[in-house]
């Protein structure tokens, strides 16, 4: 009978302790079953936390060399101390590594700037092209007195970010074209787009990458070779564009046909209708799934390790293959898992923020 008053109507007065006690009672111990669940959860949290904190902090060694690790039972953070350069920048020549650092910074700065809605205009795409060209010069060198660094030597975080950013940048426009093509009234254009989308969505990314690394060289005339990195990049772009195209198509389908008809009756041409009326509304609707496709793309760049590129995961694998660090595999994987986590978590939070921001105007 006490539950007749709904929660939100209860008085919020009382001292802070009083209120927090009430919160605890209502959220954690409202029924006997709830109390049992709470105690069970507390036990699990305690178990997990004590294991993790014990391993990573309390029993860990923070010395910069491995010698101190013999004495402790927990993590040996000397691994990060000794290997972070290799993991973050791969086999990039040591003397030139500032260029790889600069490359990562440029990519992160570019991403942060692009996240700001004030800069959203066609100029942003152009600015990105210039920015990427500059990035390429810095990483590859061979001009302005920079020594040449072959793309096979690029690696680590810089490579992961490069694959992700370029992947997003080129997959999105391609996906837009595919989505428009799939909804087009021209039967042949439609068939081409449907086949492209369904084939790439039906097979695993790894098979696309294997195709790019083994089969693709056979497609080219003799003597022409395209480097492995570019092939993997194109594979990632095609694969994610197919998924993204379906996301965009979903958004376009959600726009009521009255909008299409209104645009037609105003005498707008196809591109004006799509560019000014349909897409601005449709894309706004699909921000969350678009961002989760981008997050998948970032995570999926780790698959290039299978065709032998040294991204974050590839570099870590070869770092812990070194007999000296073979016991530190947990530290190795946890280190890059944290890096991936930060990027993905940040992206998903940004997606929520953007979604809320844009929905406010609707």
């Amino acid at each position: 009978m006490t539950n007749l008053i709904p929660n939100q109507n209860r008085p919020t007065t009382g001292s802070a302790t009083h209120r927090s006690w009430r919160w605890v009672r209502e959220n954690l111990f409202s029924t006997p079953l709830n109390s049992v669940i709470t105690i069970f959860c507390l036990y699990i949290i305690w178990q997990v936390l004590s294991t993790v904190v014990g391993w990573a902090l309390i029993n860990a060694s923070f010395a910069s060399t491995k010698d101190a690790c013999e004495a402790v039972s927990g993590a040996c953070w000397a691994y990060v101390h000794q290997n972070y350069r290799f993991v973050l920048f791969g086999t990039y020549p040591l003397d030139e590594q500032w260029r790889s650092v600069l490359g990562s910074v440029m990519l992160i700065v570019g991403m942060l700037v692009s996240m700001n809605r004030r800069f959203w205009s066609p100029w942003l795409a152009l600015a990105w092209l210039v920015w990427l060209a500059l990035l390429y010069i810095i990483l590859a060198g061979d001009v302005f007195g920079l020594t040449r660094v072959d793309s096979a030597q690029w690696g680590g975080l810089t490579l992961t970010l490069l694959l992700a950013v370029v992947g997003i940048g080129f997959a999105a426009p391609l996906a837009l074209l595919l989505a428009l093509g799939r909804r087009s009234e021209m039967p042949f254009v439609k068939v081409v787009c449907v086949v492209f989308i369904e084939v790439f969505r039906g097979v695993p990314l790894i098979s696309v990458l294997i195709m790019a690394s083994v089969m693709f060289p056979l497609f080219l005339p003799e003597g022409v070779t395209i480097n492995k990195l570019l092939r993997a990049q194109v594979g990632i772009i095609f694969f994610q564009a197919a998924y993204l195209a379906e996301v965009f198509r979903g958004g376009m389908q959600a726009i009521p046909s009255g909008q299409y008809e209104a645009a037609d009756s105003l005498g707008l041409g196809y591109w004006q209708k799509m560019g000014k009326i349909i897409l601005p509304q449709a894309l706004r609707l699909v921000i969350p799934p678009t961002m989760s496709t981008f997050i998948s793309l970032l995570k999926d760049t780790s698959l290039v390790v299978i065709i032998g590129l040294f991204d974050l995961l590839g570099a870590t694998k070869s770092a812990i293959n070194d007999p000296a660090w073979r016991q530190q595999f947990i530290e190795g994987y946890v280190f890059i898992a944290l890096i991936f986590f930060c990027f993905c978590f940040f992206m998903s939070r940004y997606s929520l923020h953007l979604d809320r921001e844009l929905k406010r105007g609707m």
């Binding site: 959220n27 954690l28 409202s30 709830n34 669940i37 709470t38 959860c41 507390l42 699990i44 949290i45 009234e185 021209m186 039967p187 042949f188 254009v189 081409v192 369904e198 084939v199 969505r201 039906g202 097979v203 695993p204 990314l205 790894i206 098979s207 294997i210 195709m211 083994v214 089969m215 060289p217 056979l218 497609f219 080219l220 005339p221 003799e222 997050i295 995570k299 999926d300 780790s302 698959l303 390790v305 299978i306 995961l313 694998k317 812990i320 073979r326 016991q327 595999f329 947990i330 994987y333 890059i336 898992a337 991936f340 986590f341 993905c344 978590f345 998903s348």
Partner: protein, 396 residues
């Protein structure tokens, strides 16, 4: 004069033609078709030239040849003397095995976490969210490498194997579980189970028919479960109720008896389940939350029992929201099982890869496994579409 006349009469139809919708549509399509055709022709031509120059055979004749490589685990009999064709079948079966088990386990785990996410208990919701954020923001491949390293490095050897339960052993060579010893009673129980399921289905059909005809309610769910479980137990009892188990035991350097899961299989299954469950949990949560509260209140006020409210009112409506995205997750899990190649589980991609390296026939091998994946994907989506249609809202 005559020239301008002719030019204007020449441009007029041309302009009209350019602005003509049908003509433009045909023109665009011809251009796209031409582009696709030329590209395809160029690629095929290059490939044929390259294959000829590198002296690589073409065609699917290699499927008949001896594979001469071993496969660490297989559902069917396989030896290196078998053909490439049979090796690929082993790969397909291994992919299907790990995907089917993964889908089953991920659905259970994901549903449990999804229900936890809508619990009134704040701590449980918090734990669910933490689980999801942790495992979904880290690449699956990284998780697989991690679990694989843990299993192969941190687990003890067979002699010091962990023994968490009687008969269950975990070592760096794999996980060993006891199975019932060979006895005709188990076969009989299996047949009885199948018969029981068919029986339960028939009871349900009959009960629904009678419900529509007479309005009398028959508890078909409990009756069906009773038949499906009761029959196997009866069969087992009739055949002498054997309780002897085939437990794994250490013999020499490894365990014998029982069933064993290789570290590769175990890791892949664990990784796929944990990763996909995060997505399924979110789907289940949004499905449950999509049913307005008024629905359960209305059902309760009609006097329905809580279990009926769940079964007749909430679940059918939630499933409608849940099924389409769930299909995508099942497809993703199946495709993600191809990451097996990275940890050495002999799935379809990994065996195709070996085939490709041995025969050099990359085009054929890639074509085969891409076709198989496409067919598996289409099969799962057909099945789920059929199920979805059955559950969908029937409007006017």
């Amino acid at each position: 004069m005559s020239s301008t006349q002719s030019s204007s009469s020449g441009t007029q139809p041309l302009l009209a033609l350019i602005y003509d919708k049908t003509f433009r549509s045909i023109l665009y399509q011809v251009l796209v078709f031409g582009g696709v055709f030329l590209l395809g022709w160029y690629l095929v031509n290059n490939t044929l030239t390259n294959l000829e120059q590198q002296d690589i055979a073409t065609g699917f004749g290699f499927l008949e040849r001896e594979a001469s490589f071993g496969i660490s685990e297989s559902v069917i009999e396989y030896s290196p003397a078998d053909t490439y064709g049979r090796a690929l079948v082993v790969g397909i079966l291994n992919t299907v095995k790990v995907s089917a088990l993964g889908i089953f386990l991920a659905t259970i785990l994901g549903t449990l976490i999804g229900i936890g996410l809508v619990s009134p208990n704040w701590l449980l919701r918090f734990m669910g969210k933490t689980y999801i954020e942790t495992f979904r923001n880290v690449p699956l491949l990284l998780q697989l490498f991690f679990w694989y390293s843990v299993v192969t490095n941190a687990f003890p050897g067979p002699r010091q194997a962990l023994n968490p339960m009687a008969g269950v052993f975990a070592s760096n060579r794999g996980l060993y579980l006891p199975v019932p010893a060979d006895h005709p009673a188990w076969t009989a129980a299996l047949i009885a189970l199948i018969l029981g399921l068919i029986g339960a289905f028939l009871v349900r059909k009959w009960a629904l028919k009678r419900l529509e005809a007479t309005g009398e309610v028959f508890p078909y769910l409990s009756a069906g479960i009773g038949v499906a479980i009761g029959l196997p137990i009866l069969a087992w009892l009739v055949f002498g109720a054997p309780t002897e188990m085939n437990t794994p035991s250490l013999q020499g350097f490894n365990f014998q008896g029982g069933i064993s899961l290789s570290p590769e299989f175990f890791t892949l299954l664990l990784g796929l389940t944990i990763y996909t469950a995060t997505y399924i949990a979110e789907i289940v949560r949004s499905g449950i939350q999509s049913v307005p509260k008024g629905q359960s209140e209305a059902a309760t006020s009609l006097g329905l029992k809580p279990s009926w409210v769940m079964r007749l009112i909430i679940l059918p409506q939630a499933l409608r929201v849940i099924i389409p995205p769930m299909t995508n997750q099942y497809l993703n899990l199946t495709k993600n099982s191809s990451l097996a190649v990275a940890i050495g589980y002999p799935d379809l991609v990994s065996i195709s890869n070996t085939t490709m390296n041995q025969t050099g026939q990359a085009v054929e091998a890639v074509t085969i496994f891409m076709t198989i994946y496409l067919s598996i994907s289409l099969l799962i989506s057909f099945f789920m579409n059929w199920y979805n249609k059955r559950m969908a809202l029937v409007e006017r």
